[in-house]
Symmetry: C2
Subunit: 229 residues, 2 copies
């Protein structure tokens, strides 16, 4: 397939504003026209993530943008990301249990919005920047989860709909994702990973710790500022 | 299992305000404590359905109630239920294709909210009143869809979460659902099925036609009023 014909295909990309989804967008951009989906669910970092989403969408000149609000995830709670009464964990990258930042069944909500939108737009692919290893311990970031979700799309949509969830970075280490992003010209300087909602990233939460370790392993300087506001 | 111990188990029941979910609530009420979930997604009949939801919840004295708003389903459109520019079909119960009232991938959104809430509440079951035959032709109302969704819950939630989607009326005819509801004392007089948002049900849309045919088959008089407002 040459590049011109391949661009007639459309992909919905879930863009949180973080590095992994930014690199997913860069990958999708090679072969698809893009539609960007952002989901706000009452997470602590909502406004900062939305700023990053818009910046990345502007960078790729994406016109089809959808921002979905899932306020009930905050009402339901059960996670340090959505319940202000639950403190953000300090980093413990050796921990084996599911972290308190796990938002119960969150990715099914995100993928359901992407699937509904993708079905109406006639898209062929849904890109999500889930990472299984070197990462979060979230049950809904594992490859087998996406295999089952793809079966759900096949049984739960119109017969003429042919949509697949694509997880191009799921088996990569964070440092590999950074290398790939650099190679593809992904705007990592526009991304936000911190679980706090400051102007600068805190550098101490799980997500900052993972990001900083990954940039160190990649031998690349993280282009975003860190430190107390 | 005796009735007292069984009531220590908790079920989330998806209650649209229609007959099928009302009868599901009556079934769940036999063995579980209840939590009622209603989802508004910009459907034409939103306010009328919400009234029915509250009436049924009051009837069963349910304290745990969650109303989730999924406004993006209206933004996404693609259905006569969510897009005012698409007319409501006149009834054609012999049609084999997927009707225009199909909201793309809707039930995944509903079940995702139910699963997240159920996981946080520590529920054991999610009841949904999907009906495969004698009904809608929606792809996400078929038994195989729920088998796959249950696999998704198993791979996508905490290891200690043991939640199953239960579809007690999925293989029943509508007339059988009415008979069962009558037997269990389900408040069918409080339900709403019509795809229009009037004070009286229109009696002409797909959903009214199915309901009226089912009451005729059951040999029972539908307790709700019909006719032009």
């Amino acid at each position: 397939m040459n590049e011109i014909s391949s661009k007639h295909r459309l992909a919905v990309v879930l863009v949180s504003g973080g590095m992994d989804s930014c690199v997913c967008a860069a990958i999708a951009h090679q072969s698809y026209s893009l539609a960007f989906l952002h989901v706000s669910y009452g997470q602590r970092t909502e406004s900062r993530e939305r700023t990053a989403f818009d910046a990345i969408a502007d960078y790729y000149q994406v016109e089809r943008r959808l921002v979905a609000r899932l306020d009930h995830l905050r009402t339901i709670g059960g996670s340090s990301l959505t319940d202000p009464a639950i403190p953000v964990d300090q980093a413990d990258l050796e921990r084996n249990e599911i972290p308190i930042s796990y938002v119960p069944f969150r990715n099914a909500h995100l993928l359901s919005v992407a699937t509904s939108w993708g079905e109406v737009l006639g898209a062929q692919a849904l890109f999500i920047g889930a990472v299984a290893e070197d990462s979060s311990g979230y049950p809904d970031c594992r490859p087998e989860y996406y295999e089952v979700f793809n079966r759900l799309i096949r049984v739960g949509t119109r017969p003429e709909t042919h949509l697949d969830v694509v997880t191009p970075v799921i088996r990569m280490r964070k440092s590999e994702i950074i290398h790939l992003g650099n190679k593809l010209g992904a705007p990592l300087h526009l991304t936000w990973s911190c679980y706090q909602n400051g102007v600068r990233a805190c550098g101490r939460c799980d997500s900052c710790a993972l990001r900083l370790r990954a940039f160190r392993e990649a031998g690349i300087v993280d282009p975003i500022p860190y430190g107390d506001d």
